[in-house]
Symmetry: C2
Subunit: 403 residues, 2 copies
């Protein structure tokens, strides 16, 4: 490639990074720019399916897409390497095995667990963060069943605590509600011994959803033996349970999964970007403050909703839409033209509740429940695969569950 072409480096092949890379190949011709995608693994994964990997309801490989299968390698140079540091003042990225320069940088490095300083959360709570951490949860869960069979006095081996009742927390307890009875059958365990407890600081589950939707979700999950403790703070996580509330009441549990908070990948803060509650408060065009050549997307960024004055939640749908704005704005920066502000076009939000259960809204605010919602959820998942890799990818990795 020519030395004179601007070099755009995309860090991270999550929803934001993958779609930005794809859109950049559409915004520019081959001669105009050099596009580099850096990712630790040679695969992209469906973060929104990881709760299923963690519960063991889908095969981890279904959640993975080989990057070479969806990115045109004639247009994009793919570097499989881990990012160590971003030197924003000298426009360099330090990788484990090399250092690369950029003219424009897109940071889509995803999230990590935000523990809010809760003692023990870092050490003892699992996090549904990537394929490997999700798989660890899956194997851990089944190991608890086998351990319980060898010492049935240890009831806490069958208690599963999920901290946080946001999207991921609720979707995960939904999968547990489906999977754990299966494991009971497989391991000859009385299913009444299993406890699934969801603990949420806020007064309700799923903040942001309409009351009737979250009532539906709550009832559906309670019917499948999920116990909710809303308005309840986790004060401490211990190797064998949690302490909750002002009284620090103990709940014994061998498995604690924390979904209660995410923050930007620590590389972002360590590289000197200023953080607000763990993320970078980007301008409406998605640029980092003071660095017009650096765009920050997805879970690394706070993007303000101009209408509400509050940041958008960290969802895949928003990350994918940010990619459009980002690619457009890089093109405008290079070729001249006006940068656009990010506006979220809500196509609907559906939360899976495990098995055939789901609920949510579609674009016009219409509410969906049960199998209809589940069908919609699968359509949303398949639509993303279609955008990313066309019909063949939908066939290969799509969800065609009977419903």
């Amino acid at each position: 490639m020519s030395e004179n072409k601007p070099r755009i480096v995309v860090l991270g092949a999550g929803y934001a990074g993958m779609m930005t890379t794809k859109r950049l190949t559409q915004q520019f011709t081959e001669d105009e720019v050099e596009i580099v995608l850096v990712n630790k693994h040679n695969y992209h994964y469906q973060t929104t399916w990881l709760h299923e990997v963690a519960a063991g309801t889908i095969n981890p490989n279904q959640s993975r897409i080989m990057i070479k299968d969806v990115i045109n390698n004639k247009r994009v140079e793919f570097i499989q390497d881990a990012v160590v540091e971003i030197k924003k003042d000298s426009k360099k990225v330090v990788l484990e095995n090399q250092e690369i320069d950029y003219d424009y940088l897109v940071i889509g490095l995803g999230f990590e667990k935000a523990t809010f300083g809760i003692p023990g959360m870092e050490e003892y709570a699992f996090s549904i963060q990537d394929v490997e951490k999700s798989r660890l949860i899956r194997e851990h869960i089944e190991y608890q069943f086998a351990s319980y069979k060898n010492d049935p006095t240890q009831d806490h081996l069958l208690t599963f605590i999920v901290g946080g009742a946001g999207f991921t927390g609720i979707e995960f307890v939904g999968e547990l509600a489906e999977k754990l009875p299966e494991l009971c059958k497989k391991h000859d365990v009385d299913k009444n011994k299993v406890k699934i407890i969801n603990i949420e600081m806020a007064p309700t589950i799923l903040p942001g959803f309409d009351d009737d939707l979250l009532d539906y979700a709550k009832k559906s999950l309670e019917f499948r033996n999920v116990e909710f403790k809303t308005g309840t703070v986790i004060k401490e996580v211990k190797p064998d349970g949690v302490l909750i509330g002002e009284e620090k009441d103990e709940i014994k549990a061998a498995t604690v999964v924390w979904t209660g908070g995410v923050q930007a990948n620590r590389i972002v803060g360590n590289s000197g970007f200023e953080l607000t509650k763990g993320k970078v408060n980007v301008d409406p065009t998605l640029r980092a403050p003071g660095h017009d050549e650096v765009f920050i997307l997805g879970d690394c960024a706070w993007v303000m909703n101009q209408e509400t004055g509050r940041p958008y939640p960290p969802t895949a749908q928003i990350a994918i839409q940010e990619a459009d704005t980002c690619a457009h704005n890089i093109a405008a920066s290079i070729n001249g033209g006006e940068l656009e502000e990010f506006h979220f076009d809500n196509k609907g939000t559906v939360a899976s509740l495990g098995g055939k259960h789901a609920m949510g809204t579609i674009f016009d605010g219409h509410k969906l429940y049960g199998v209809q919602a589940k069908a919609m959820k699968n359509i949303i998942d398949d639509r993303y695969l279609f955008m990313l890799g066309g019909p063949l990818l939908v066939l290969k990795k799509g969800k065609f569950r009977p419903f």
Copy 2:
């Protein structure tokens, strides 16, 4: 049933107990005796297949046979309960939920891990002892792979130590040699990172086998990356490895499975039977010293081989043949007649080495290797099922692996 009929109680539904029960129903008519079988679970399991359950190469349910499916419940009263104590002087057995009387007692309560006082062996080493303990090993192994993927600096997560190179130890490393490469593939782990180490105090593996058979076994397993340390004593087991030899060299390993010694179920010793190296030294008719009405079989007993002056090894084949002698001798005791001494009729011994690999001898001393031996092994397994439950049981639980 009549009060006057002698009551024969069989404790344990392992190979010895199941076959004795079966033979008793053949030795006696319905009017002659009352037969009671006591077992903790409602199933019998193939102890000789547990190494496969532990490695994860067969489904645990294939190793289990429901007792009601093979025992005639018109002839045998089955009590599902756990034995607490044998009161041999008052001819009573204390169960968890009741106490029962006997006129004749057959003890087939199986083995437990003999640790020879090696520090840490009880706490930190797994044992291929029953279905549940084997399943725990299986889940533990896969959990180590998932853990390694989350911290690839912890090489010891992929080191698997098997203590003991007797029948079970060698069969188990054979299964590991097949299974672990599969887990590497499933979890994206470089298979060169996996270590399987077999540690044996004796100078060779498989004592009792001919040199050319054990050479074959050793080469077959070494070819599949099993490392042998013969003439090596395990001095201590720690939570993360073992100390070996006089120098107490450390080998770090997250998984230690001990197959190096078995002794009678502790209930036997706790009930006042005198133990020799952990088992009861029965007379040639299989009776406990000083108790003509108590027969002890299988892993609970030392039965001397009159020709060699050494005890028979604890194998399924021997336990099954002991059942014949025991049933005959109970009949002789009740109906009058001469008690017979136990003589082992060696029908051949085949050790599975994982996958298609096996080796051993058949009744005439003819040696078998590879797929031929594997076929023979399956025939032996199926023959037992045939004896126990006829052709339908062979169809249901038999091994029809392609070879």
